[in-house]
Symmetry: D2
Subunit: 353 residues, 4 copies
């Protein structure tokens, strides 16, 4: 890194802005069903936060022609880190754009960049403070969401993307590899949880999902129950279940535009500098579901289009190496065969979910 400017001091994944084609349908999903708090509403946009958040928003929904990820937002540790970020990305040859406070409602002065992975990313410090509803329990539904947790993105070259994020100061908590050290996916963090960003191999750049954290598992189960009650169970794509990677209890939903949202609880503390990186073998069926459940094909193959700084969709690049789904899932859509099925040995039949 000698000669390279210092990277900005990033605190954490802070917000995402998505375009949605039907803002009323999106409001139904994120506010009525998931219970996110409306900080502000204006023609064409909704600014939402979770109950324990005091920054203006962690999710912006903006009406648009087609569904897409407009921007991922990372918060930096101090106002002057915005300029640090600008310098850093310029040195990388990335296109950058300084925006004034309020360019995104509730967000202070910021720099937006087209990062080397193809994502539009904003770095900001300033943000409007709003009420933290941690103890406003009378407003919490049975599926209350606490805070945004992380982003997960599809990239064609996970190894290169990991190197990029490590240079930005992220630590690697977990990864999926094979015996040839092909890297299928990686989880990286700034705040002391398992991740602020996960890198999943696939056609990219695309957004795989935005994840929010809940406090207890029953809150996640309740979201499923509510969707069933509303005959809207088609919004449940995968789970609930336990991830092998990260140990978190998860649920994947698809919003009315197909954007994928994860609700997530109980990962673990990673804040010590020697936090061990956990390596999962790509053939261990427990890596994606600790209970051995198959991964539905759509979860591997689908993601949200990413927009550049001009709002134009980014072209996709396919991986040049083998994909996780193809090495673990056969043509029938199911996983590898267990070696023998006896207690405590072998892998589960992917299909026996």
């Amino acid at each position: 890194m000698s000669g390279t400017p210092a990277p900005p001091d990033i605190i954490r994944a802070a917000y995402a802005e998505l375009t949605v084609t039907d803002l009323a349908a999106a409001r139904w999903f994120y506010v009525d069903v998931l219970g996110l708090v409306v900080t502000a509403e204006e023609p064409g946009a909704l600014y939402l936060r979770a109950f324990e958040e005091y920054l203006h928003h962690s999710l912006v929904l903006r009406a648009g022609e087609s569904p897409a990820l407009v921007r991922l937002g990372y918060r930096v540790r101090a106002p002057e880190q915005v300029a640090v970020a600008e310098t850093y990305f310029r040195a990388l040859g990335a296109r950058t754009e300084r925006v004034a406070a309020g360019a995104t409602r509730g967000i202070g002065e910021a720099v937006r960049v087209e990062d080397p992975l193809g994502f539009t990313v904003e770095f900001f410090y300033g943000a409007t403070h709003v009420d933290r509803f941690t103890q406003a329990y009378h407003l919490h539904g049975a599926n209350a969401i606490a805070r945004i947790d992380h982003f997960n993105v599809l990239v064609p070259d996970v190894r290169a993307a990991t190197a990029y994020y490590r240079d930005l100061g992220f630590g690697v908590s977990e990864k999926i590899e094979d015996d040839e050290e092909h890297l299928y996916a990686a989880w990286l963090y700034r705040k002391p949880t398992v991740h602020d960003i996960a890198l999943t191999g696939g056609d990219g750049p695309r957004l795989h999902h935005v994840a929010f954290a809940a406090n207890e598992r029953h809150q996640i189960l309740h979201t499923c129950d509510v969707l069933g009650s509303l005959r809207a169970e088609q919004h449940i794509e995968r789970g609930p279940g336990r991830h092998g990677v990260s140990n978190a209890f998860y649920l994947y939903l698809r919003d009315p535009d197909g954007h994928r949202i994860e609700i997530y609880t109980s990962d673990y503390y990673t804040g010590d500098p020697d936090n061990p990186t956990v390596r999962w073998d790509v053939h261990d069926n427990r890596r994606r579901s600790f209970w051995g459940h198959e991964v539905v094909p759509s979860w591997y193959s689908e993601g949200s289009t990413v927009l550049d700084l001009n709002g134009r969709p980014r072209p996709l690049t396919a991986p040049t190496e083998q994909r996780e789904a193809s090495v673990t899932i056969g043509a029938d859509g199911f996983g590898e065969v267990a070696s023998d099925g006896g207690p405590g040995t072998g892998f589960k039949l992917g299909h026996q979910s």
Copy 2:
């Protein structure tokens, strides 16, 4: 029913006896993993109960050549009801056998019958009392099981089987039908829960599963976590999830011999005489999973062999009418297509689990 003797006054589903081919492996599964309490152990047999039970056992595992259901046991309300049962089944033309107290360890005088559906069923009142471990919390694992709940059996003609059980005094809590009133499955009870017996259409007579009740959902989730920890996740066949039918939170396991065990919580009170029967349309994807998850094919097609009073396997009869899986699951193993996928309308794509 005029001219027919009165049926016995059945309290509830009380115990099942299974043959297992490797008693040590079965002990690992039922005692080490599931935490059932060993009431008695003898060469070739294990007598197990759950934490809130004070009768001698709710599950007998007996070493045998091949896995099978030996017998389902119903408890009757008084000692003299054993003779009532004998008279009733003789009048039905069923083969019956009176056995002395202790014929099954811990069980009093009983009558065993080959019921009209082809199952060997025992009716008993007397049973040895043992300690109820309800408040022995220091012995409860994180996946503690409270009590046996019900049996689920595969029968070729659900309508005829339902009539047989209604004559025995069972109420129908829920059922799956189509618009032509073809009955695909039915749930019937004596104790005031959703069921003591469920009737599932399929090649029969076979045992679909024996179900145990837990008190809270996290206890069921923990069983999955333990199986993952032990690299024994292949024992998880389906779930955890929420049933549409019965509303219960479920998990289906397969023991080392392939016997299916359900762990189950939170069904509802049915004890008033006018308890409404819930009818589910066979095309409603929420009937088997309220969250719209596909049902794995093995769950529909596999079951345990049933033995007659002489310990010989019962031959199977196939349904003459269409099966639930064939009307709801295509050749690809997945469910019906949703009508349009908009919020609050249509059914879920079975595959989007």
Copy 3:
């Protein structure tokens, strides 16, 4: 019992009618905070039910001059059991009154009696059916209540009251006694839970509380959190905690008029005829709180006035024998001293709550 008419076949505790002095305040407490469903609302009265109930109501709140219990309602197994009840209570010398369907909105033909313990009790079968919201999860708050569970009443002579209820066909699940077999409290049931009625020694007749069942403990904890959020924590009288007796997880609230409401989960199945009666020694600090917590004095001493068939308050009779609070709680309001405090021995200091 020879020569006595047969008692009515009671199914369960079904509803209570309370007078409240401020119906709007009561609505806030029962509907806004506890989440009970409003079946019907009319000037001067509210008819409420819990989410899993399909009968018209389990709680009636009626505006009145002073807070009181108007009536306890038991459901009987068939319409003709109403007349059986009338005959039975007349034979006991009790004052009875037949009322037409609709005398209480939603309730069919019934008989009301002034029972020998001094309570006004109604026996009914007919009731209007309404939607069961078991699976209307989008309407369930995080503190959702499933169904009414039991009544608890203060009576001066627990032994006599127990005999009265046993004659009515109730079984005794648990009791608190001392070595002289003085009976301080008893729990009796018809439906197969620990109780439909609890008898607590004290000045009587008074209502101690009406109890509702929730499905899981976190739902009960959430009610506390909501009350804290609303700065209405003074409505929490005792708990949450675990009862020794009944094993249930409990919370006692006081409504704006001082009526005591219990929210309760996880008692156990009692439906077999030989269900063992659990005897607790009055000196075991775990009987009222399995965790050894002191019982607040108000919980022992306060209760709701009971009205007769004419709506006049019943006079109170004091116990002639010693009271539970006086044998276990000293003048300082705290419990007995532990013998030594070592692990696994002795009783807890009541004050060390």
Copy 4:
């Protein structure tokens, strides 16, 4: 701070060493009941950790003549920070002692200091890594503890102690004050939770408690149930309940020597630099219990003796200003009277717990 050396870069509260008078009794409490994992055992000492920890220990129990706190351990971010700490404390005039790796089994080179508040505190980076049992679910009891969370200490001057810790780089998450800005207690953090250290006003220096984090509330409830089952409920001092301060769900236990242990879950993220400090009025009954429960007097008045670097007990200094208990709790041991008791107004009667 000009002229003062830089403080060490502290990561978090890492371990405590306690002397216990009966190591077998302590083992029963911490290992058999609480389920902490034994990393190492030697004559006279036990080294324990929680399930998600990979450092050698978070609690050392050492046999001694009388119960005391030997040392609090903070982990610093890098090996060279040990020397930074030494320099910093020498400049403060504190007595310091460098110790070689292994001076405490499993801990690398360290510096121990007698801090200005009178506590013996160790700063270390190096530590032996052991297996992280996060996913060893088959070893987790129903009351599994995840990790150490914080220390709470009694100090006579909370304002001065807060200034000392702020100089060390800690942020203030919450505090209890009165209108005269008398500071009764403060919570300070390095890792992004509510605290690594809490400062409670009282005779000091003494240890108030060591706190461990669990993942969900039911795990904390289970510890109470286990203690009841073992007739060891006298170890429960306070709770379970919800703190107003920190929002965490808590339980306070006393070990066989009287050391106080908190089990704790669900506080909130504090990792952004502008995390708002929450101020609680000392007269708000919800500050210590969000549910308005009284605080038992022992909780305010009792604490563990602190040893100096030579193992000699530290003398105590009493506060010169009013104590929290005396301004909020009357001579009867109970709290302030509510203003009127109407819904949503006033404070709870402390006694109505």
